[in-house]
Symmetry: C2
Subunit: 337 residues, 2 copies
């Protein structure tokens, strides 16, 4: 078996309390004692047992991140930001992927992270009031990212405002008939992105005195093939839109695919704007709304670590800005038609 604190103490000729003090960098140790202990630790390759330490300190030195759809680029970027911050701390990162509503419910009912982590980072998953209560009862610091809860610090982006910017951009290019393609408005996991972005879409139209046309709204699924299908449906309309705003880049890629299939030149015959600014958006020349995804992760992790280290736990709302990135998919030469 591995060496224990007793082995070190015996070999260094001190008590285990002294070894513990050296380990925990207590100032109350004579320099020569410390040196002797450190030498033995080094010699033996001793490493303190985490479980024992946890048991007595009631600290795990781990934080958990709970996120849906691990493979979607958005979440990956957020994860990357989180990881970067956590890696520079003393904490370890435990990951929980929640893909289905059942899984989600099970998680927040059993709180499997309880007692295994000192804090929680919840990405994009809205929490129901009883779930929030349960978290707080467990006294587990939590930070929400890309979603918010009344009593918890939350890091969000302005989805309504971003969508507004996107649609206003199309209007400024002369478009009057603008379709909106999105995922479900009331999805299983309770996301509000699609709804928020639609609100921005509607607000922009209204602000510019354009009519809201129900047939231009295509809410379906958060999948590229839905973007494809929705675009075909829009094109089949008696009066098809001259521009399409997709609630995320992935949908936009599906839209673009469909338009090309129909022989339309994106950015010339019809304009497309996405949302996310995935890496691929640049390659495709997609005008889109850039979200600071990695920065959301960083910010969330920083807020959590601050709460953990300094005990600051005010339920602040951090809203990160979004920007319109203009590319060729919405170039203006067509629009004045």
């Amino acid at each position: 078996m591995a060496y224990t604190i007793k082995d070190v103490a015996k070999r260094a000729g001190v008590g285990i309390a002294t070894v513990s003090r050296v380990l925990n960098e207590s100032p109350n140790v004579l320099p020569e004692t410390r040196a002797r202990v450190l030498a033995v630790i080094d010699e033996l390759g001793y490493r303190p047992n985490h479980a024992a330490r946890q048991l007595v300190t009631a600290k795990t030195n781990a934080i958990a991140i709970i996120l849906p759809f691990l493979t979607r680029p958005f979440f990956i970027e957020v994860l990357r930001g989180i990881e970067a911050v956590v890696a520079n701390s003393e904490y370890q990162l435990i990951i929980f992927n929640v893909d289905s509503p059942e899984q989600r419910t099970r998680y927040f009912n059993t709180l499997p992270f309880l007692g295994r982590t000192d804090g929680l980072l919840i990405v994009s998953l809205p929490l129901a009031p009883p779930e929030i209560k349960r978290l707080q009862a467990a006294n587990l610091p939590a930070v929400m990212i890309d979603t918010q809860a009344a009593n918890l610090p939350s890091v969000v982006v302005d989805n309504v405002g971003g969508a507004f910017k996107a649609v206003e951009h199309l209007i400024s290019q002369g478009h009057q008939r603008i379709g909106f393609v999105s995922g479900q408005l009331e999805p299983d996991l309770g996301f509000t992105v699609n709804r928020d972005r639609r609100r921005g879409y509607e607000a922009a139209l209204t602000a510019h005195h354009l009519p809201l046309q129900p047939e231009y709204l295509r809410a379906g699924f958060d999948r590229r093939d839905w973007g494809h299908q929705a675009a075909l449906e829009l094109l089949a309309l008696p009066e098809p839109p001259s521009a399409i705003f997709a609630a995320n880049d992935d949908l936009a890629f599906g839209v673009i695919d469909a338009l090309r299939e129909r022989g339309l030149k994106v950015g010339e015959d019809i304009a497309v704007v996405g949302y996310d600014d995935l890496e691929m958006a640049q390659l495709v020349g997609l005008t889109t709304i850039h979200q600071p995804m990695e920065q959301m992760g960083r910010k969330g992790a920083e807020v959590l670590l601050a709460a953990l280290n300094e005990g600051t736990r005010r339920p602040t709302l951090y809203t990160l800005p979004v920007d319109l990135i203009e590319r060729t998919s919405s170039s203006s030469k067509l629009s004045q038609a």
Copy 2:
């Protein structure tokens, strides 16, 4: 504070050992006793303390995954496969991202996961003999994914064979001058992919009696912009290649960008083949080698869990197959030129 096993025992009118037996599903408990204990557990919302359990059982119920470059699609896909398998087990997944050689060295020297995890999944990072020895000394089961170690179970794909397939495909389309764009052949972290794929490239040329032309080899960095630059360099050659094999899709995207900038039609004027079959490859019409990335993750996790649960720990090598996916970037109409 949270309830402890003592609270449950007292309230149920039994000893703590009996509560423990119920918790651990020992058969030696009278059904009515069990029922009473379970009722109290439920009533109190009691949850056993992990640290205490770990301390006495010396099991953490966690496994760690160590991977580089968390955001690269390849690793994400592997991670996804791992997560899917681990989520269905009793284990939790701790993630360590290792991006720099210094970080890498530090990790394998300090083994920060030691005592925090029951097993290790190492993705793509080759281990030096002393590092392997250290792992084995720590008696920590480990499985290698996309890299191999002599004494450890390893899940790999046939990179040499995949590259061979890719180049042979180009040759079959009539190409004789085939460039090769890759990342560093001897990268800091010790990856061997680029080298392996180049070996496949060379083997295919040799097998078909084509000359190896040093000026067609462009080894630089694993970044899209290098693909871009390398392509420009190849085009500037007195006798530029008629086809380019890129060691991964991301490089291929850079290559394609450059070709388009130069006014070349990919798949007509010049052929391009990538490696990885990223989601984006389909959108771009890139012919490429498909790797079962998620499956590699699954397989690795399964092997590790088997080792953990059943104690099977034979150092088996699992080689997963790769396939050529033909798309428009290498369509044959040009090649007979």
